[in-house]
């Protein structure tokens, strides 16, 4: 393994293990938290708000949507402070800057994998069947969300060095994003504004795509081939641009740490 990969592994290990080590049940929280969260959703939507729910497995669908949103939120928020919050790593160890937001992304991804294992267990227990071609829809949606989360995380990590207010702004945008995305409910958008909505909120399409693997959801933009092509090209270009940006201004960025 080369030095960069070892460094990335060690940074991720440090962040993941360091987070749970001081706790009594330690790493078990990674599984306990989503399980309890899902139990809470079932109790709320199965009893308290039962009459308002349109379908039987709303709690499971909500859990799935929130898991993907939490991944995006965690990956970007922790990446945002990944460089500014570790001045010792930046100045005293010879590490490329991009490794720091990358390790935050890996930790968030690991948390998502474990949360999804809880989802899978409940989904199978509920006797549900995934849609035909579910693997393509699920992993395709997940890959698009991951590309988006990684790119935004890298860009936020360097923006935060020059403009610290971005922390507060991003926090507010994330709150707004929960309600603007089809997580808790479906946003009713007039047909003529659909393109604008899905372009402004790039999280919405991959979320619907991933959801379509397990629930009766149709990604609304999947038939608009022009938009879809542009979206996929942008999704592929964004991480390249983000890494190019961090490498280009690395010298100035290091002086800001």
């Amino acid at each position: 393994m080369n030095k960069t990969l070892i460094s990335l592994y060690m940074l991720s290990y440090l962040e993941f293990k360091g987070r749970y080590k001081p706790m009594r049940i330690g790493l078990l929280w990674v599984l306990v938290r989503p399980t309890v969260q899902l139990a809470i959703f079932y109790s709320i939507f199965g009893f308290l708000f039962k009459t308002n729910i349109t379908h039987e497995h709303f709690a499971l669908e909500l859990f799935f949507g929130l898991a993907l949103w939490s991944f995006f939120s965690e990956a970007t928020s922790s990446a945002l402070t990944s460089i500014s919050g570790k001045p010792n790593f930046v100045l005293n160890i010879h590490l490329p800057l991009w490794l720091l937001p990358s390790s935050s992304f890996i930790v968030a991804l690991l948390n998502l994998v474990l949360t999804m294992s809880v989802f899978a267990a409940f989904y199978l227990y509920a006797g549900l069947q995934p849609a035909p071609g579910w693997m393509f829809a699920f992993f395709g949606g997940l890959a698009l969300i991951a590309l988006l989360a990684y790119s935004v995380g890298v860009l936020l990590s360097i923006t935060n060095l020059f403009f610290r207010d971005i922390q507060q702004i991003w926090e507010l945008l994330l709150v707004y994003g929960v309600f603007l995305s089809p997580i808790i409910y479906y946003v009713n958008i007039p047909e003529k504004l659909l393109t604008l909505y899905y372009s402004v909120n790039p999280f919405a399409f991959p979320l619907e795509l991933a959801k379509s693997a397990f629930f009766h959801v149709t990604p609304r933009m999947s038939t608009n081939t022009t938009w879809l092509t542009c979206y996929l090209l942008a999704a592929a270009a964004l991480p390249v641009l983000a890494l190019l940006a961090i490498n280009t201004i690395e010298g100035k960025a290091r002086d800001q740490v």
């Binding site: 070892i6 060690m10 290990y13 293990k17 080590k21 010792n88 005293n92 160890i93 590490l95």
Partner: protein, 211 residues
Amino acid sequence: MIKFDHVTKTFFSPHGDVTLLRDYSYDFSDGTIYGLYGPNGTGKSTFARLITGSIFPTSGNVQREGKIVPFLELGVAFHMELSGRENIFVNGGLLGISLSTLRESYHEIVEYAELVGSEHKALKHYSSGMMARLAYSISRYADGDIFIFDEILAVGDAAFQEKCFENFERLKQQRKLIFIISHSLPLLEAHADSILLFNKGANPTLAQVRR
């Protein structure tokens, strides 16, 4: 070898720009121990960071021939909640030591740091001396050509310092290039071949040590 080629380093700030090096050129040759000495704020750590590449020159160029192993802060990646064992692998990995070397040398690292029996305890239960010994013990396995030590000698006792100097001599015999930053001039005079003297507002000047 490290070559400073017309290097200028300025930190830009709304409160006023600070220039610590101005058009500085010098070749630092292998097999030499250089001491870096001067008051706080004169640019010793900045100079060291320019060598490691953790900051970039404003203009000019720093050429590096060989692998750099920086010890600008001992145990820089230590995590207080993780055990000594975990920290050996994490710190060693971040210093560029291969996992196979760390596995093979694990017991030697623990023994050299005099931590046998304590390696599974969380680092928060270690004294500062124990942490310094552990960090230094790990660093001995870093394979490189250029080593930079910043004030590491301030944290250990006399026996620890003796171990450090034995290691510096060993590295020097292997034709490694070594930089030691210290606030102790007698200590640098005793062990360095040349001393870079730092003064506020001026480029460092080199003084040969005569023993």
